[in-house]
Symmetry: C2
Subunit: 442 residues, 2 copies
Amino acid sequence: MVQPRILKGFRDYLPQDMLPRQRMLEVLERVFRDYGFLPLMTPALEYADVLLGKYGDEGDNLLYRFLDNGERDVALRYDLTVPLARVVAQYGDLSRPFRRYQMAPVWRAEKPGRGRFREFMQCDGDIIGSDDCIADAEVMQLGADMIAGLGVDNFAVRFNNRKVLSGLMSSIAVAEGEAEMGVLRTIDKLPKIGEDSTRKLLREENGLEEAQVDRVFEFLGLSGTTSELIREKLCGFFDDGSVGARGVEELGKVFDILCAAGLDSRVELDLSIARGLNYYTGTIYETFLTDLDGFGAVMSGGRYDGLIGVFTRQDVPGVGISLGIDRLLAGLRELGVVGEEPAPASVLVTIFDEDSVETSVALARRIRSAGVGCELYPQVAKLKKQLKYAERVGKRFAVIVGPDEAEKGVVQLKDLLTRTQDEVAMDDLAATVLTKVKGQSS
Amino acid sequence: MVQPRILKGFRDYLPQDMLPRQRMLEVLERVFRDYGFLPLMTPALEYADVLLGKYGDEGDNLLYRFLDNGERDVALRYDLTVPLARVVAQYGDLSRPFRRYQMAPVWRAEKPGRGRFREFMQCDGDIIGSDDCIADAEVMQLGADMIAGLGVDNFAVRFNNRKVLSGLMSSIAVAEGEAEMGVLRTIDKLPKIGEDSTRKLLREENGLEEAQVDRVFEFLGLSGTTSELIREKLCGFFDDGSVGARGVEELGKVFDILCAAGLDSRVELDLSIARGLNYYTGTIYETFLTDLDGFGAVMSGGRYDGLIGVFTRQDVPGVGISLGIDRLLAGLRELGVVGEEPAPASVLVTIFDEDSVETSVALARRIRSAGVGCELYPQVAKLKKQLKYAERVGKRFAVIVGPDEAEKGVVQLKDLLTRTQDEVAMDDLAATVLTKVKGQSS
């Protein structure tokens, strides 16, 4: 006998988890489509070299990578963005600007922990082929509409810009590439580990001098409204024409567009947002449920203008947003925005005995033909057991037809909630059930 | 630079493939729910021993199996049935009878070929916990309603029973287990390779004597209506009380129930249906689109009463149905039942110039607030280019607002189909667009 068990860091989603999750995915999909995003699907497995080197060394180590039966070096996808970049490079004839969404699992061999899993679903929307801040603001609006569409009142989109951070790094003479990314990944931990630990890591892991660390915290300590930060505080920080100054300009453009879209109160500049992935080059953002302290971001993303260039000589800019479905659902649960979902198919047709099987089958068929969801108990069993099952799985009505009823051409229609029972002519059953089910759902 | 390429046997689904596919999945999901099936999701990766030995040697060899970073022997799921059996054994508190559906990709390292892929989506429905033929008939009805719900008029559900085939094997002294499965897998090829090749394989690969092969073909050659076969022809074939006779009895019960459900004309007994997988123990079936000659089955399944017992001491019967999404969609395309899907979000708001960005952003926001799907062109670009894009991706309407319009508080609303253009006050735009889009979709 094989022990029935699941790999650590992986999950089974039983129906009570799946029903609200699917309801949520339906909302997200509707918003995607309302913004003109088109669905795309890519394989779970990719050539390893397609994925390697895009996420940083840490990411590379977390790949599920192996040799397949044909000795090909392959890996399970780590996110949905790199496969998208591969697709855009591979199919030159995709209409651009190209808006696509994808909701699919990704795999990372992380140490499993509270809220950290090795398989989890991402839900991504991206605009490919525009280097304009309009696209940045468009995906941020999309994200805001998703969170609002799910029934959340209080949330904040905190944004920043990698060019501003690169400008800061350049001003303290940290080299581009892995050195810079290392410092940014440390900064990204600030909200979780606090200033003292961050300073320590910057010195010990990233090898910064005290003066460099001070400069980083001078920058991170800038305060004021988003408008003040962009128009006043940040300007003095960078030389004209430098990468940092261009970043500040982009921040201003994105913020203006978001204000024009009426999102002033939702968005704020947060200079400590750095994002851990290598590929970002401009706008970056994270979204928080402000009623849940310390819950972490439920949605994040940014601009990655160099990523597609890894696969093609063409220069193709991109910007996107990614939702962590499971984190978000956990958050919605905590906020009380999602509860239990009712079971589908609210009618159970019971089987009275061996002789009445065909009568019950035919009745179930009639109810279904009337457009009412209906489950046939799939076995001859004690009626009590069948009714107990109906209640346990949340059915509202049960249809019972024994030999007496069959002879009279009627059935007993039991309302399991009100605990009442009506005798209904078989010929009227479908219509009666339809009326009752409609009344129930309105 | 990394060459953007995809693994052999894997596919990218671009939007034009995804839109009709998702429409199809929505129909299937609705029918599942109307039958009271509940959604379940299991991981892509399982411990290898959970999957091994359930599909036959051929299946075991086709597993994507590897050692993960923790040296665990793992494999990508090969189907959705074995993971379901694992779940049922692992979570003893699932209400039974348990009806679940799952629509998810599976992986098989097959030699890629026409219509054969290494990653493909399965769509499964199963009833766990009933050993009654009512359950067999219920999933067959479910399958028939799905195919009909997708708009197919002509299809046939061909069914058989593994016990009948086991009875046949026993009558020619073929041992249970791999020997029997080998013969059944050869028989399963009959429709594809014809009688002569099948006879040859039975002799040469399965080691049957000429007399045994003749007996197999005597059985396969039985002819008549389903009712005649069950009530007359098959009865003489098996001793009373033998496994074969029990199979014939089950065939009769299933057929009677399907007739009671009004499916007489849809179902027929086909003694050559054997199904290749090891785990079937009773009813088996395959569904064919009868207008497409030689297209092969689009839906199949059967009863597997021993499978869950691999994982638990409890005796838990099961029966299910599995649709191959991609085969089915290809079939629907060939039948002309699905065509092109219109692009979502039928309005494009253009960007006239750098100065009008915020006006366009605010207009897009207003249109969206009215509940109309709307895409904002994400870049300042020549108007002609934007309108060309709108036509290429199938937008119906384009909104244009330049400095003159902005001053007057109006926009140009262009109908890209009728090639007409109206001047509309900004304040009326959302309502006007809503009316036009509604008129278009009705």
